[in-house]
């Protein structure tokens, strides 16, 4: 017989099980990273990144989610300084991704010999694909004045992007204050193949950023950043049709222009725990656009040196967003604008992360082939996918399963830095 107390016990057990499921991968990662850090960190590590004239940074990112979707992303950055004021940098990135469609919840996307063909017939999304991007940056820095220009290129089978950008900053007030600005232009072209051939189009994105950083005390730094983005052209995504109540599907249709504004503030406070330096970083970001989307982000990070050159970082990031004004759970089919894109529906997420970084033995620094520093991190994301407060939710559009209301995903990153 079900009594109130037994019902409460049952609910409590379910809550505990749900929490264990959501946090267990994160806890495992924390234990693993801690063990690796203790095993690998030498007693006398290289203190920190020295001002080198030439170097290579390697990173490998691996993303997973509970439905078997993954990313493998190796990245390389090479820089070289000339005449003490010039710096050239080359960034290379390769993405091997599965489940590139945003249809969260579809099972086993990208797994060979699974439901790939079925999924592809519905969505036209890539099962597995490769993307590569390159960026060349030239910078000039002298007496507190900095300027840089870069050119970025990204290519995948159905999307190409070119992006020139310029930025500059000026230190003044005895170099306690830094004013900066940047302008980036993205010239993107989406050209689907197969069933969706002929859909898509080009888009142009102009991003203007202004920033202010201020030294507030010998251990405190603050910054403010404002970003305005104007997007025009084809801003949609042809792969995911909007669905009517009786199951008819219509192509997504979005306005061909969008203006968004984001403002973020960052405060960094250093402190000493015993003799070891640590820092707390709190970043808050507010975003809104003329599609009536609003989002807020808070990101808290605690860096702490455990020994010379070895630090740990703990992180908690909360994010919430509202729903675009034209997003509905179902459409009649005669709306001017309609979208099933999950990015335009409300949700909240929580990310917990841990990072550990250290140096290799100082003697390794004598060889250009041996790395000087390493870092390892894991960020565990939990997303509440269910629409909130009775608002339109993306559950049905995205054919999500009920247990996907809380979506679990994780990102590992490992880095090696070489001072040449």
């Amino acid at each position: 017989m079900l009594t109130p107390s037994s019902a409460l016990r049952g609910a409590s057990t379910r809550v505990r099980a749900a929490l264990a499921f959501r946090f267990l991968p994160f806890l495992k990662a924390v234990v693993a990273l801690g063990a690796i850090g203790i095993a690998v960190a030498p007693p006398s590590a290289v203190a920190s990144a020295a001002e080198s004239d030439q170097g290579v940074d390697l990173k490998y990112m691996y993303y997973w989610d509970r439905n078997g979707v993954w990313n493998h992303t190796p990245a390389l950055a090479y820089f070289r300084k000339f005449a003490s004021v010039w710096k050239f940098q080359w960034d290379q990135e390769v993405d091997a991704v599965s489940g590139a469609s945003r249809r969260l919840g579809l099972r086993n996307i990208g797994r060979l010999a699974d439901n790939d063909l079925k999924v592809d017939a519905i969505t036209g999304a890539s099962q597995q694909e490769f993307r590569h991007s390159e960026q060349a940056t030239a910078s000039y820095s002298n007496a507190g004045r900095n300027a840089s220009a870069s050119l970025y290129f990204s290519d995948e089978n159905d999307y190409r992007s070119y992006s020139p950008s310029v930025s500059g900053s000026w230190d003044f007030n005895e170099r306690n204050t830094t004013l900066g600005g940047s302008l980036a232009l993205f010239l993107d072209d989406m050209h689907p193949t197969g069933r969706f051939s002929g859909e898509g189009g080009s888009r142009e994105i102009v991003s203007l950023t202004a920033s202010l950083a201020q030294v507030l005390s010998p251990l405190t730094l603050g910054s403010l950043t404002a970003n305005v983005i104007r997007s025009t052209g084809f801003l949609g995504h042809p792969y995911n049709p909007a669905v009517t109540a009786d199951g008819r599907m219509f192509t997504e249709n979005l306005p061909n222009h969008k203006t968004s504004v984001a403002i973020s503030g960052l405060i960094i406070q250093g402190f000493h725990l015993g003799e070891r330096l640590g820092s707390l970083r709190l970043e808050a970001r507010h975003y809104r656009d003329d599609w009536k989307m609003i989002s807020n982000t808070a990101d808290l990070q605690w860096y702490q040196y455990l020994m010379d050159g070895t630090y740990v970082r703990l992180r908690a990031r909360g994010y919430q967003q509202g729903t675009a004004a034209f997003a509905n759970e179902y459409y009649r089919g005669d709306e001017v604008y309609r979208t099933p894109d999950i990015r335009f529906y409300g949700f909240s997420s929580l990310t917990l992360g841990m990072k550990i970084g250290s140096g290799f033995p100082e003697s390794w620094g004598e060889s250009a082939l041996l790395p000087d520093r390493w870092d390892l991190s894991y960020d565990h994301g939990m997303r509440n996918t269910k629409g909130e407060l009775g608002g339109p939710g993306p559950m049905k559009h995205y054919q999500l399963f009920s247990k996907d209301e809380s979506y679990i995903q994780g990102t590992f990153m490992v880095g090696l830095a070489f001072d040449l």
């Binding site: 990204s154 968004s260 967003q321 997420s349 407060l389």
Partner: protein
């Protein structure tokens, strides 16, 4: 429940998009906020001499301690989280 942060609810009835292209009413408020905090930052603190900035030059007190990692995250996170405004990334691949 930890994930159930109250979301901002939108009212579809306020959406005559054809009548208000590019409308961004709260922008003046944002600009006012920026100016206010900027003024506070510029006037509310004494200068810190270069010799006292030893700790501020440490990597863990930098504005972006790991630029390469931050770049990877800003490209991957919005795509995978499905977020519209949580990152500074604005283009350069659709992940689709």
């Amino acid at each position: 429940m930890i994930l159930r942060i109250t979301s901002i609810q939108q009212d579809p009835s306020i959406w005559p998009i054809e009548a208000s292209p590019g409308r961004a009413g709260p922008i003046p408020l944002l600009l006012a906020g920026i100016l206010l905090v900027t003024g506070m930052l510029l006037t509310g603190c004494a200068n810190v001499h270069q010799k006292d900035r030893e700790f501020l030059s440490d990597p863990i007190l930098q504005l972006t301690p790991d630029p390469q990692g931050a770049g990877l995250e800003s490209h991957n996170l919005p795509r995978r989280e499905g977020s519209a405004g949580g990152s500074s990334g604005s283009g350069g691949g659709c992940g689709c």
